[in-house]
């Protein structure tokens, strides 16, 4: 069936717009950080000084039966975050939030990441889906806890 009205008209009521919103739609369409991190190697300068063994840690939360399950995998060298990957089962907001967090963590690090309320605001996640972001937060918190523990242990 062909109709000439596929594009959303400017100023269209919200009900006709993409329910995901542009930010979530773009992230959801390009889950470039989804999947496992490739195996890494120890890094250091040419003389071997400052070598910090890379390590992978992960944290997980949620259950498929509840609609959301997320696992974050962090590659670190010492306390430095090198790479973030995730695997996620859930709604588009869940997947988009995971992708967005992975991008931000790799570019700006852990300090400026904020919390679920900030993520919901920045991504225009509807209040009814905030619970999904709490699962994402739990997975990320578990991954950081594992990272902190391995630093302490080493």
């Amino acid at each position: 069936m062909k109709a000439g009205a596929a594009a959303v008209p400017a100023g269209a009521p919200a009900a006709f717009a993409d329910p995901l919103g542009p930010a979530v739609r773009a992230l959801f369409a390009d889950l470039r950080h989804a999947g496992d991190a490739p195996p890494g190697a120890a890094r250091g300068d040419a003389a071997g000084a400052g070598v910090a063994a890379e390590r992978m840690v992960s944290g997980e939360a949620g259950r498929e039966q509840r609609g959301t399950r997320v696992r974050f995998m962090l590659r670190l060298a010492g306390e430095r975050l090198l790479q973030v990957r995730y695997r996620a089962y859930g709604c588009p907001y869940t997947l988009a939030a995971c992708e967005w967090l992975a991008q931000r963590l790799e570019s700006t690090g852990r300090a400026s990441i904020g919390g679920p309320a900030d993520w919901a605001r920045d991504l225009s996640v509807p209040p009814a889906r905030l619970g999904r972001l709490l699962v994402v937060e739990d997975a990320l918190t578990a991954a950081f806890a594992a990272a902190d523990k391995t630093v302490t242990d080493s």
Partner: protein, 386 residues
């Protein structure tokens, strides 16, 4: 999408209006058309009444019913409400028990819940894992105070067809009236109320290429005295449904029924062929489960669950397709399909379902597009899953 509208694969939610139906409707709107109030005695009123009664003949013919046994409603939801609430309340002194199924449409279940608040008891029958209700289960549930059994013909989510004739036979053994929600089967399969032996039957225009906002309720001759109206104010439709008749809607419904009576077999064969191709195209993905009986079903609906996939993500990723995860009436809900849960699917599988529904205007290229898009997105989302 490159500016093109998505392929429409949601005919179970609603159908486009046939151009011939739209033409008939447009004849009933403007000053030079049949715009009168059918209750008026003057020329314009009589002219409108003639159009309404012609449509009643057309709609009744689709289900092989006498025209006088049909009343107009706003759609299947109102027909179901009138059948269930109207029957139960009219029979309340005789009994206060009803039987229905867990897989019914909300427009049947919610009136039943309403009746429970009014002191009625309702038995909700389980289906088997393929969505079918054994007539024996109905027999076991019947009680001396049962005043109505309400079982849908074709399920709106999974498309399975219940054996209404067998269920009706069981009901007749105990002289309990049977209501059938035929919203998804009218115009899709042969319907004959005498053969089905049902007492009440609901159907609607917008599922058979007619307009939204108009439906009908058939009632067997013996039912008239035991149906209490829900709306009052003018005594239209033999006192069962007051309100000025929407002539343009009714005229459109009538033409849609006439067209459906001539086209349903061809439409069904067309949909059957496309559905078979769709299933063959999706099955190689693996982890694809057919929901509902494989053969006892309407031709146009294919409901499948994809293991390891969350249904909303899959649906939202398929922007080149217009289709549903379940009933369009409840798809705002975050809950998994209660119909699939009733079939014994676990929550994960119930959440991972898509309902493809095909119709008269579905094309081979729509189905090929669907196969390609679903294959692409299922692989992508599975690759991202834990």
């Amino acid at each position: 999408m490159s500016g093109e509208a998505p392929a429409y694969l949601d005919y179970a939610a609603t159908t486009p209006v046939d151009a011939r139906v739209a033409a008939a409707m447009s004849e009933c709107l403007t000053i030079d058309g049949v715009f009168g109030n059918p209750s008026s005695m003057h020329f314009h009123g009589r002219q409108a009444r003639e159009r309404v009664e012609r449509a009643r003949v057309q709609a009744a013919a689709l289900i092989h019913a006498p025209p006088q046994q049909l009343i107009w409603t706003s759609g299947a939801t109102e027909s179901n409400n009138l059948a269930i609430l109207g029957s139960a309340r009219a029979a309340a002194k005789r009994g206060r028990h009803l039987i229905t199924a867990r897989t019914e449409h909300k427009s049947v279940l919610d009136p039943c819940h309403r009746l429970e608040h009014e002191g009625f008891k309702v038995t909700y029958l389980d289906t088997d894992r393929e969505g079918l209700i054994a007539p024996e289960r109905v027999r076991e549930a019947l009680r001396d105070d049962t005043v109505l059994v309400s079982i849908m013909h074709a399920n709106n989510e999974i498309g399975v067809l219940q054996d209404i004739e067998a269920i009706a036979a069981v009901c007749q053994e105990r002289a309990v009236p049977l209501h059938v929600d035929a919203a998804q089967s009218a115009g899709k399969v042969a319907l004959d109320v005498a053969r089905l032996r049902c007492d009440l039957l609901s159907f609607t225009a917008h599922k058979l290429y007619g307009p939204k906002g108009i439906g009908a309720l058939y009632f067997a001759p013996a039912r008239r005295a035991s149906l209490q109206p829900l709306m009052f104010g003018g005594g239209h439709e033999r006192g069962l449904r007051s309100g000025t008749l929407a002539v343009q809607q009714i005229a459109g419904f009538g033409v849609a029924c006439e067209l459906a009576a001539a086209a349903w077999a061809g439409d069904a064969a067309h949909c059957e062929r496309l559905r078979a191709r769709l299933w063959r195209g999706l099955e190689p993905l693996g982890g694809v489960l057919l929901n509902g009986h494989a053969t006892q079903r309407v031709a146009g609906i294919l409901n499948v669950s994809f293991t390891g996939i969350e249904g909303e993500s899959l649906l939202m990723a398929l922007s080149e397709l217009s289709l549903s995860t379940g009933s369009a009436c409840i798809s705002d809900s975050d809950e998994p399909s209660y119909v699939l849960r009733a079939l014994g699917r676990d929550t994960e599988l119930a959440q991972s379902s898509l309902r493809f529904s095909l119709g008269r205007y579905s094309r081979d290229e729509d189905v090929e597009l669907a196969i390609a898009a679903v294959t692409r997105e299922v692989r992508r989302l599975r690759a991202a899953a834990p």
